[in-house]
């Protein structure tokens, strides 16, 4: 019985190592998104990081095999049941000095390549292109420096997939409406910050993970070798929907990238002109409500909930609230500018005047808030410009 137990014990202790060694086989598929191991990724840096990771891993496995090997040997050879008599030694200065010095040398061996890679990763100088990345609950905003292009990037996975009503797509939770687009072969610098809590912008294939701290700007960079779609996620707990804040980056050949950038600038210009035209137009109640519901569900429902009841004690209800029923200028103001010291963000730069007008109309007429109030783009414009 005792013998059997020892055998089972040995087997059980080896199990983790058998699993660990399966990592090595996963190595052959690295570069693709392995489900077992770090990725080699799409940049020189991410490749260096991967090599460093494997070096550390093998050193750790070697140490483990050595130490546990000695221990298991002792457990086998020096069992009392095998008649082992205890030896008397309990110190040995030479051995003790050796096993203090040798690990120290191993550490130096590890530290040198690690320091070299680290210095390369932190060198953000001489970038070809700079993108300002701003996190907010729970979306990313990208702004290209020196170009007239900026936009929000939101989770594109349908609510019904999350709630298990529809089947989940291949890129479940790793898909956005408007990905960040960058050129290949160029050094792209990221300036990373936040509008509210701390987020962390992470693309595993670039080995870039940097916290977005409110009120401070962090720097990072990448230079992508291959065109492709690279997916990541927010990596710092940022509240309720932390798990629903993906990062998607498309790397395009420089010529393609330039074409895309010019098209985006043209679209942005057109949208501004459209906005001016809308100021003199009135939308019907039906139109406002239809548009408003769409905007509400995409932008507001995460906190105030689809039924307008909010989360008691965390996010206030809009249904039956004094602001939604009575104070219209206050309502427009809080949507435009947010409320300092709370989770309520300023949506003035995220939504168009028309969207804001529609969503406020919706909030004042949905869920039994039957005020009959209609808000038009020009009303929002008036509050935004202080008249």
């Amino acid at each position: 019985m005792k013998r059997l137990t020892t055998q089972v014990a040995k087997w059980a202790w080896h199990l983790p190592f058998m699993l660990f060694s399966s990592l090595l086989f996963a190595d052959t598929t690295a570069g693709e998104a392995s489900s077992l191991n770090l990725r080699q990724g799409a940049t020189d840096i991410s490749g260096q990081v991967y090599d460093l990771h494997m070096l550390m891993f093998f050193i750790c496995v070697a140490i483990a095999v050595l130490v546990f090997g000695v221990m298991f040997t002792s457990m086998y050879l020096h069992r009392k049941s095998r008649g082992a008599k205890p030896a008397n030694f309990h110190e040995n200065v030479k051995v003790e000095i050796a096993w203090t010095i040798v690990p120290f040398l191993i550490l130096i061996f590890m530290a040198v390549p690690a320091a070299r890679t680290l210095i390369a990763m932190e060198d953000t100088s001489e970038a070809d292109l700079t993108v300002v990345v701003t996190g907010s609950q729970w979306k990313w905003h990208y702004k290209y420096m020196d170009r007239d292009v900026e936009y929000y990037s939101l989770l594109a996975t349908q609510r019904e997939q999350i709630e298990n009503i529809f089947d989940k797509g291949d890129n479940y939770l790793l898909e956005v409406d408007r990905p960040l687009v960058i050129p290949t072969g160029k050094k792209v610098r990221f300036l990373i910050t936040s509008d509210d809590v701390i987020h962390s912008w992470w693309v595993p294939d670039f080995a870039v993970k940097k916290d977005a701290n409110p009120g401070f700007i962090n720097e990072s960079w990448t230079k992508v070798n291959e065109p492709g779609i690279y997916r990541g996620q927010c990596a710092e707990l940022c509240g309720k929907d932390h798990g629903y804040m993906p990062v998607v980056v498309i790397a395009k050949e420089p010529a393609e990238f330039d074409a895309w950038m010019n098209a985006q600038e043209a679209i942005a210009k057109e949208a501004r002109e459209e906005e001016q035209r809308l100021l003199s137009m009135n939308m019907s109640m039906d139109e406002l409500m239809r548009e408003g519901e769409r905007v509400y569900n995409a932008t507001c429902a995460a906190c105030h909930m689809p039924n307008g009841e909010g989360l008691p004690g965390v996010f206030p209800a809009l249904k039956g609230s004094q602001m939604a029923l009575e104070d219209m200028p206050g309502h427009i103001d809080i949507v435009l500018h947010g409320k300092a010291g709370t989770a309520m963000q300023a949506f003035g730069k995220m939504l168009s005047l028309k969207d804001i007008a529609a969503v406020i109309t919706y909030e004042r007429n949905a869920w039994g808030n039957n005020t009959g109030d209609m808000v038009q783009a020009k009303d929002v414009y008036a509050v935004a410009n202080g008249n």
Partner: protein, 536 residues
């Protein structure tokens, strides 16, 4: 103590009764008013076990939600409350009180003292704990729910963006901190003043040494935690801006303060474990501990280094590169004294005469699995790779290996080792084997695959995940449920032992056991060492 009782209530105790000092008060007041180190130790240990089951139940909720992708059981906001309160309960409610319970039971018996030096404070430091956790748990039932910002409560998520329950969270952490500080003061005063004649510093059992060093760590860093929660409180409710850039503060400063507490805290939860293993391995190797002096120095070195490595939790916050280097190198250095400990244990076993009773089984599992956690810790120290590991399940795997198969396994080893001394009866060895093997297999099924999903890119603290993580998460959840159920075997075993079922044991209990606690009868009398023993 007993002399005072004798004078005040001469009728209650028969004067000729030689065992009169062993009179044990009855009923609930025995436990409420007790100043006896053994009673208080028992209270701490039961409290820790109950909290372990409560925190474990929350882990079951987490694992049930993560069993498959999509939202099934809970809403994200409640999920975040579960991860937060699970962490707080396991750290402050399970691991730390369990070690304090063991310290209470064992330190006086190991150094030949009649009791702890400050017995009334000892009572107080225990009895404020249940209140603290009632406050914390009750906050879950508040409108808006309990704390949902992670046990690390990073600002401004825990200030501007948190719910109203933050006030209760802060208050409960304050009480936990006060309790820990009082416990630590008691340990230090006891060890400094109440050692038996001849019990010189370098003769103290290693459990006493590691706890002494732990107590100094506690006194150094618990006030820092108290400062951090107080600043969170005033930022949230009283308009200060410690962590708000808009008012001139800095959210990253919060992390520096928190981790200046948090990293020594990690060693607070592992140094007593080192002490336990250093008691158990020699006993079942029937051979003296190898390198006693180097064990003491290594513990001291780890404690000192723990104050200069905190920012390795913060590599992605955007530090200057020279600071990243400093914290990387300092962190790597910790593996040297930690390695010395592991080597010493292995050398103690080498050419011993080994037997594998349950305390030894848990101790060996500790050495292997803690070392795995230590090695992944070394990998995490390497800054450029940490950028990839940080805030993924790789980190979750790492700290559960050092905390569950490290700290918790050492506590279980300790319970199996000293339980016969406490109750006078051998525990149920069949249940113990079931408990050990079920725990060992399930805990690895639970935590080992977390390395893989972490490396593959799954962030921690998410209620839902991409499809490529689904297979492993299913197995992780199965392992989690199995590990949770396995602990009910332990509960049954401990209840049986407390009912004093089982075979009587000798005062030495284990063939190779050495030390003062093995020289007193089993079960240990209510009062021991009223006349100090002389240590040769």
């Amino acid at each position: 103590m007993s002399k005072a009782t004798e004078i005040m209530t001469p009728d209650a105790v028969a004067p000729q009764d030689h065992e009169h000092h062993d009179h044990i008060p009855k009923g609930i007041t025995r436990w409420l008013f007790t100043t006896n180190h053994k009673d208080i130790g028992t209270l701490y240990l039961w409290f820790a076990f109950i909290m372990f089951l409560v925190g474990g139940a929350m882990a079951m909720v987490i694992r049930a939600e993560l069993f498959q992708p999509g939202l099934q059981i809970v809403e994200p906001n409640f999920f975040n409350q579960m991860t937060t309160v699970h962490g707080l309960i396991m750290v402050f409610g399970a691991v730390m009180p369990a070690f304090t319970g063991l310290a209470n039971w064992l330190i006086p018996m190991m150094i030949g003292a009649p009791d702890m030096a400050l017995p009334r404070m000892n009572n107080w430091s225990f009895w404020i704990l249940p209140g603290a956790f009632l406050i914390l748990l009750s906050s879950l039932f508040m409108e808006g729910g309990g704390p949902a910002f992670g046990w690390t409560f990073y600002a401004p998520l825990s200030t501007t963006y948190s719910g109203d329950s933050t006030g209760l969270f802060v208050f409960s952490v304050h009480i936990m901190g006060i309790s820990s500080i009082m416990g630590a003061i008691n340990v230090i005063v006891t060890i400094f003043n109440m050692r038996a004649p001849g019990m010189t510093w370098m003769k103290m059992p290693l459990f006493v040494w590691t706890w002494l060093i732990t107590a100094f760590l506690l006194i150094a860093v618990m006030p820092v935690l108290a400062g951090a929660v107080t600043m969170v409180l005033t930022d949230k409710f009283f308009g200060t801006s410690f962590f708000d850039a808009a008012g001139g503060g800095d959210p990253v400063m919060f992390q520096h303060i928190f981790w200046f507490f948090g990293h020594p805290e990690v060693y607070i939860m592992i140094l007593p474990a080192f002490g336990i293993i250093s008691q158990i391995v020699p006993t079942f190797s029937r051979k003296r501990l190898f390198g006693y002096a180097s064990m003491v120095y290594a513990t001291g070195a780890i404690a000192l280094l723990s104050f200069v490595v905190w920012a390795h939790h913060m590599f992605t916050t955007g530090m200057p590169v020279y600071m990243e280097m400093f914290f990387m190198f300092a962190t790597m250095l910790i593996s040297v004294p930690t390695g010395v400990k592991v080597f010493n244990w292995v050398a103690t076993m080498w050419r011993g005469s080994l037997s594998f009773e349950m305390p030894m089984m848990f101790a060996i599992a500790f050495i292997v699995l803690f070392t795995i956690g230590g090695l992944s810790g070394l990998m995490l120290a390497i800054t450029p790779v940490d950028f990839q590991y940080h805030d993924t399940y790789f980190v979750v795997a790492h700290f559960h290996y050092v905390l569950v198969t490290g700290a918790i396994f050492s506590i279980m080893a300790a319970v199996y080792y000293w339980l016969p001394k406490w109750t006078g009866k051998m525990y149920d060895t069949t249940l113990a084997k079931w408990h050990f093997w079920c725990s060992l297999v399930s805990v690895n099924l639970l935590f080992f695959p977390m390395h893989f999903v972490g490396l593959a890119g799954m962030p921690r603290r998410i209620p839902d995940y991409a499809l490529q993580f689904a297979d492993f998460n299913k197995w992780i959840s199965v392992g989690g449920f199995a590990f949770g159920l396995s602990q009910l075997i332990f509960l049954a075993l401990v209840i049986k032992a407390c009912k004093k079922l089982g075979d009587p044991v000798s005062s030495q209990v284990w063939e190779g056991a050495e030390g003062l606690e093995w020289e007193i009868p089993s079960p240990a009398p209510y009062h021991t060492f009223e006349t100090p023993p002389v240590v040769k």
